[in-house]
């Protein structure tokens, strides 16, 4: 008979890290919101970025505002990923991760990750559009092979979980 796996520290660590990340995500949301609230004050932004009033500088400020709005859109997407992941970790800790709920959680995570990747591309494009030699904008955003691979893997994992759950139900109903 297969022995139950030895308790791993990975689960409690993942649980704590995810809880911290959920709080950090909300704090990031508040910070972005604060940025959006002060961003109408163009003079303040110009001085913060050492910009001189010009059409280029105005375009840069507009671009940064758009990036902030998109960043705000990303907050609920990150929340979906983190909250669902936390629920999955809880089922693993409870010793019963192969349930239909986890398959739908992974599906939700995959859709949220897809949204994050699309946002990242739009943010990267805006960054490139407003960047000038005088005021270069370096945003850690854009098309990412590893990001899209993660989306694909998560969709596949959701399907694997759904099939695995059905197989387990069949096995449980086998006499």
């Amino acid at each position: 008979m297969a022995r139950p796996p030895a308790p791993s520290p990975a689960l409690p660590i993942a649980y704590v890290v995810l809880r911290i990340l959920i709080v950090a995500n909300w704090l990031l949301g508040v910070a972005i919101l604060a940025l959006l609230v002060v961003s109408p004050n163009e003079r303040w932004i110009m001085s913060a970025f050492h910009l001189t009033p010009s059409p280029e500088a105005a375009r840069l400020v507009m671009g940064l505002r758009a990036v902030a709005v998109l960043g705000l859109v990303g907050i609920p997407l990150h929340y979906v990923v983190l909250k669902r992941l936390l629920a999955i970790v809880e089922t693993v800790r409870g010793g019963d991760p192969f349930v239909a709920a986890n398959a739908s959680r992974l599906q939700a995570i995959a859709w949220a990750l897809l949204g994050v990747q699309l946002l990242s591309i739009v943010i990267g494009t805006i960054g490139k559009a407003v960047s000038t030699p005088a005021h270069p904008v370096h945003l850690d955003a854009g098309f990412s092979i590893s990001g899209w691979l993660a989306v694909l893997l998560t969709f596949l994992l959701a399907r694997v979980f759904a099939e695995g759950t059905l197989m387990r139900e069949d096995l449980e109903g086998t006499v």
Partner: protein, 82 residues
């Protein structure tokens, strides 16, 4: 499911209880009960063999294909999923 399990009839014909059968074939009473009530999703060949041996019957005596049974269950399942 269109497959009906006739374990109840077989046990009745042989004047045997489910507990007797469970003891004879070394299987948990709960599992046999799942089979008897038609809640099982699958049956192992080894289980089928043990039951047929204990009841001196053929697999066909234990299982029966009833298409009208599936028809009866289908509307019930549909309304349950709503």
């Amino acid at each position: 499911m269109a497959i009906a399990v006739k374990l109840d009839d077989l046990l009745h014909d042989r004047r045997m209880t489910l507990t007797d059968l469970a003891d004879r074939i070394g299987m948990a009473l709960a599992n046999l009960s799942i089979l008897k009530t038609g809640k099982a999703r699958a049956i192992r060949f080894s289980t089928l063999e043990a039951i047929c041996e204990a009841l001196s019957c053929q697999p066909g005596d234990l299982l029966q294909f009833e298409p009208q049974r599936a028809e009866r269950e289908r509307p019930a399942k549909r309304s349950a999923s709503r």
